[in-house]
Symmetry: C2
Subunit: 151 residues, 2 copies
DNA sequence: ATGCTGGGTTCACTTGACGAACTCAGTAGG
DNA sequence: CCTACTGAGTTCGTCAAGTGAACCCAGCAT
């Protein structure tokens, strides 16, 4: 994927999905945000086929979203683990937005996971804000504004 | 999809992706947010195969994200168009988050589309905030906090 | 040398995406 | 009435992607 699919001209959503839109990629990143770093742990948490995980991890490393770091445990040989880069960490709001929608609209009970601000303990959510500091309610309060047209 | 795939127990990201995670779904919604409502216009904007669009639109209607509304133009027979429901509009922050990441990390130039606050004209972005009003910088300032454990 | 473990690769099979061709309802023109 | 046209699909053959089980390999322990 990565460049062949989708058309990025209308906006960057397509570009982002070309990088993280394949099956399992975003779930893999969710696990990464929850602290998972090793192949076997990703596999156990997700239940995805190994071949797919191998492929997705390689893609994410190649895209600079994860990076391989060597480590070694107890009496085992040296291996590597997968860690988020800052580019990867920038996907956090996207994951939280997906989670928040699911919590609100698919709930069979209380949300399975809540996020709280480490400093103050208050619940964390995603919001749309403008640079003048107003909170924006939704798409109706936003005007899209095309930049340079399709090149 | 919709229920067979993924495991929703760890958090709602999987649930949301089960609904909108198939290829073209989120791009279709992007177009909906840009004002597209008719089958042929979705097809032209996206270039996706008709069979896939038919399927994705039906899924989104079934999930209550889009709704079919009758309309008729000039001297044509009555048809229906697809419009966002409030459940669908709640996906706006997710789309903006995806777009923002692409703008930041995939840029070959200026972003193809900018969003401005209709009231004040200032640029709009997604942010993580806590209920005490602090802006949260990233995953490191957030503690996950499991609710009811895996059923 | 034998077995165990983490991190893969290979392979047969099923599911999903693709694009071209076909369908069908209604409207317009002749 | 017959024909052509349009929007919104459906059908179909082909190709790509995801799935699950089996296999591989390095190194540590026995």
């Amino acid at each position: 994927m990565s460049d062949a699919s989708y058309d990025r001209s209308r906006c960057s959503v397509a570009g982002t999905l070309a990088v993280v839109g394949e099956k399992w990629s975003l779930l893999l990143l969710r696990e990464a945000f929850l602290g998972v770093r090793r192949f076997a742990d990703f596999q156990q948490a997700l239940g995805a086929p190994k071949a797919v995980l191998t492929d997705r991890l390689a893609t994410l490393v190649q895209e600079g979203i994860l990076r391989k770091e060597p480590y070694q445990a107890d009496g085992s040989r040296q291996r590597h683990e997968y860690r988020l880069t800052s580019k990867g960490r920038d996907l956090y709001p996207t994951l939280v937005a997906l989670m928040q929608w699911g919590d609100r609209h698919l709930a069979d009970g209380p949300p399975p996971l809540a996020l709280v601000h480490a400093d103050c303990g208050a619940p964390v959510r995603v919001a749309l804000v403008c640079d003048d500091g107003h909170e924006v309610a939704g798409p109706r309060d936003v005007r899209p504004h095309a930049g340079t047209p399709t090149g």
